[in-house]
């Protein structure tokens, strides 16, 4: 049934790998992946620990649908206390790694302590061992993967690794798997690096059983049909990827630009989906193909190739094949936010982020913040090492990516993330962050629901914790007026709860463009033992959200952290449909707390905790 009922516990300080039973009682209350990983973390660490200390733990978790035939069932998460935020971090990735881990017979890996020397974890079905990684330390993610496949003589091995960014403690270092999929946000790669763990290589041949095979096949077949017949998941995403949003958001005046000083970007059409398929003079296009993650029948992933004539390729002095290309958030962060409209340059920076293990959103947004610091004179070429760090400079952007990737020069400052960078240069107001984490690509002044979603997201600014854009822009599941604040507390909470379920189940939130929670429920119910009703799922989603909230409160976060930068609260949007609007968080937050069953200070009441059995 969905689980192998087995956890791999790796103690890096002792150098041990041990098997222990999965706590099925907890799995029954938190589903898996994000929810269950957070439960384990909450039970096993003091939320006050220094995220980069050996006392923090790194949990690699699959969901009950991971590795099954459920469409999008390739998801897995990295859970730990995040160094960027000091809050709970649960970063979700796709690719093939998560399913392979499940096939190896493990539902979860809990990594604790710190190794004296660089090591990697090699999991081959039941056999798990820590092996020296001295020769891999300093190698990029792609080199590491190639080396491990050759060393263990198996091209089917799947690898999740950190690059140099994670090794040197870049605050938004991520864990990259399958070359261009990442557990991206909150600095989970820095935690892995702090433990001297370079990579996890996995090979599994045990498969995943499900509780009710016939019912499960029927449910997943039906759910795949739903995805295929939906305009977004059946046509839009496979053809255009998430990048299809770029122009939409720009027209809506919700495309943050120049470190959120603007809400529209002149170059938007040059860096979006349409630009990716625009033929170059030689007839080639930036977009080569779409690629799915494991089990995904949507296949929104972009695979791109930079023109060999582009300055980035010429300057690099080597050939570049195709690789994971631009997703909307990345294109926005590298492009609109920094004012750069050179698509191939953005693609190159994307490759570098994947190779060196940097979160694309936080990297791009931090460069944007640095550009503003440069513009206002808070930093000069003295700090940047002679680089003219100006908005719109593709060369400067690329140089920053190279410096962070190598851990050199001003790259070390850029690696701090916006919050710490701006504090260092005494301009904290320039940092566009919530709880220390950079915003993604939706300006809340144009979508009020996102203002509340960002402010209350348990892992800092994030679009994936409650994507009200869905209702406010795409009308899914209901059309809501983006500029209104009425009803946004309720929809934000509903989205947050539902997403907690999806993120804990082993599937992708993109499926919910077409799937209702009922579609998910049918698959989970056949996958798992016991009765998983819709009501139980909804309650579980709420329980997970509150568990994360409790972790954050215990870590020392308060209501004061549920806010947005002054720029978004006070500086009105200058152009577009939302011109004159600010983020009206104050109108929504108290209602949200109340709906959540929290005190006016944002603390879950005892009644709420009891109701959710927390």
């Amino acid at each position: 049934m969905a689980w192998h009922k087995k956890i791999l516990r790796v103690n890096l300080s002792k150098g041990t790998c041990e098997s222990e039973p999965l706590n099925l009682k907890w799995a029954g209350k938190y589903i898996g992946q994000r929810g269950l990983g957070t439960k384990y973390l909450s039970e096993e660490i003091d939320p006050k620990v220094d995220p980069l200390s050996p006392e923090n733990k790194l949990i690699i978790a699959t969901g009950p649908l991971t590795g099954t035939a459920a469409a999008t069932g390739g998801r897995w998460s990295v859970i730990c206390k995040g160094p960027l935020t000091g809050a709970i971090a649960a970063s979700n990735s796709g690719g093939y790694f998560g399913a392979e881990l499940k096939f190896a017979g493990w539902d979860m890996i809990i990594i604790e302590g710190r190794s004296d020397k660089p090591v990697y974890l090699f999991v081959q079905d039941d056999k798990a061992q820590l092996l020296p990684a001295d020769d891999l330390w300093g190698q990029d993610v792609w080199e590491t993967e190639e080396a491990l496949l050759a060393r263990h003589q198996d091209p089917q091995i799947k690898v999740a690794a950190i690059g140099k960014a994670g090794e040197i403690g870049c605050m938004y270092a991520c864990v990259v798997n399958d070359k261009h999929r990442a557990a991206g946000r909150s600095g989970v790669g820095a935690v892995m690096g702090s433990k001297n763990l370079k990579a996890i290589a996995v090979r599994g041949t045990q498969g995943v059983p499900v509780a009710n095979p016939a019912e499960f096949m029927a449910a997943t077949t039906e759910a795949k049909k739903v995805l295929a017949e939906d305009a977004v998941t059946g046509q839009g995403l496979p053809a255009m990827g998430t990048q299809v949003i770029m122009n939409v958001m720009n027209e809506l005046g919700g495309l943050p630009a120049h470190n959120h000083r603007d809400v529209q970007f002149d170059g938007a059409s040059k860096i979006g989906a349409e630009a990716m398929i625009l033929p170059r003079p030689d007839g080639s296009t930036n977009l080569v193909k779409n690629q799915a993650c494991f089990g995904c029948t949507i296949a929104c992933g972009r695979i791109s190739k930079i023109s060999p004539e582009h300055f980035t390729v010429k300057n690099s002095g080597k050939e570049w094949g195709a690789s994971g290309g631009l997703e909307y958030e990345s294109a926005w962060a590298f492009g609109a936010d920094t004012g750069v409209d050179d698509l191939d340059a953005l693609t190159y920076v994307n490759f570098l982020c994947n190779m060196h293990g940097m979160d694309t959103i936080s990297f791009g947004a931090t460069v944007a913040a640095a550009m503003e610091l440069f513009e206002i004179g808070a930093i000069t070429t003295k700090e940047t090492g002679g680089i003219e760090l100006k908005f719109g400079s593709a060369e400067a952007l690329v140089e920053m990516a190279l410096l962070v990737g190598r851990g050199e020069g001003f790259g070390l400052d850029i690696g701090l993330g916006s919050k710490r960078l701006c504090e260092k240069y005494s301009k904290p107001e320039v940092a566009m962050v919530v709880k220390g984490q950079e915003f993604p690509a939706y300006d809340p002044r144009a979508m009020q629901g996102m203002a509340l979603g960002y402010a209350t997201s348990n892992r800092g600014a994030c679009h994936l914790r409650g994507y009200t854009v869905s209702a406010e822009v795409f009308g899914v599941p209901v059309k809501m007026e983006p500029s209104a604040t009425e009803g946004k507390a309720e929809i934000t909470m509903a989205f947050q709860n539902a997403t907690s379920v999806v993120d804990s189940a082993g599937i992708c939130s993109f499926a919910t463009f077409a799937w209702t929670l009922e579609d998910v429920q049918k698959q989970l119910n056949a996958d798992l033992e016991g009765d998983w009703s819709l009501e139980r799922l909804l309650e579980t989603g709420e329980r997970i959200w509150n568990l994360e909230r409790q972790f954050n409160l215990s870590a020392g976060l308060t209501k004061a952290d549920d806010t947005l930068p002054a720029r978004l609260l006070k500086d009105a949007a200058k152009t577009g449909p939302a011109k004159g609007k600010v983020a009206e968080l104050g109108k929504m937050l108290p209602e949200y707390y109340e709906l959540r069953g929290w005190t006016p200070d944002g603390v879950p009441t005892n009644a709420t905790l009891d109701r959710l059995a927390l």
Partner: protein, 159 residues
């Protein structure tokens, strides 16, 4: 008319639903390592190539089997492994120049594509029609067949 699998790598997105479906058909669990169709990924050229037995006329595996454990299904034309006869000697695995019949350590037998008795699960699971089941005359497998002929140590019959 007999039909065969036609594979169009251009359409493949590497979602692995074919491997899941194939392994489910064989084991009632989801286990790509037991799948008889395998998707190979070429990162730098963004090519994803589903690959399995073409039921080639040369039937290297069948002819190399010392115990007659590989036989032609008269209805589908598939070369099928008869589990009760296979002793696990693996000679077929080195004889097949395409590498599409493999030894399974867990069962002690060899496994290969049997076209699911004429209703291939991989075809039904493929969301992009990268794998289709078509009249044998229509498959784009000529390329592979030509290669098969090239492997043939007999350079062709000359009547």
């Amino acid at each position: 008319m007999q039909r065969s699998l036609q594979i169009d790598p251009e359409k493949c997105t590497a979602c692995m639903q074919c491997e899941l479906a194939c392994s489910y058909q064989a084991t009632e669990s989801f286990n790509p390592s037991q799948s008889r169709i395998k998707v190979f990924m070429f990162h730098e050229t963004a090519r994803f190539v589903p690959y399995t037995c073409t039921q080639c006329a040369e039937a290297w595996c069948m002819k190399a089997c010392p115990v007659d454990a590989i036989q032609v299904n008269a209805e589908t034309g598939a070369k099928e492994v008869i589990d009760s006869l296979c002793v696990g000697c693996k000679v077929c695995t080195i004889a097949c120049p395409f590498g599409t019949i493999n030894y399974s350590q867990s069962t002690g037998k060899v496994v290969k594509c049997d076209l699911c008795g004429g209703d291939p699960e991989c075809v039904k699971a493929c969301p992009t029609d990268a794998i289709t089941y078509v009249d044998a005359d229509w498959t784009g497998l000529d390329k592979m067949r030509a290669w098969a002929a090239k492997t043939d140590s007999q350079s062709g019959a000359q009547a």
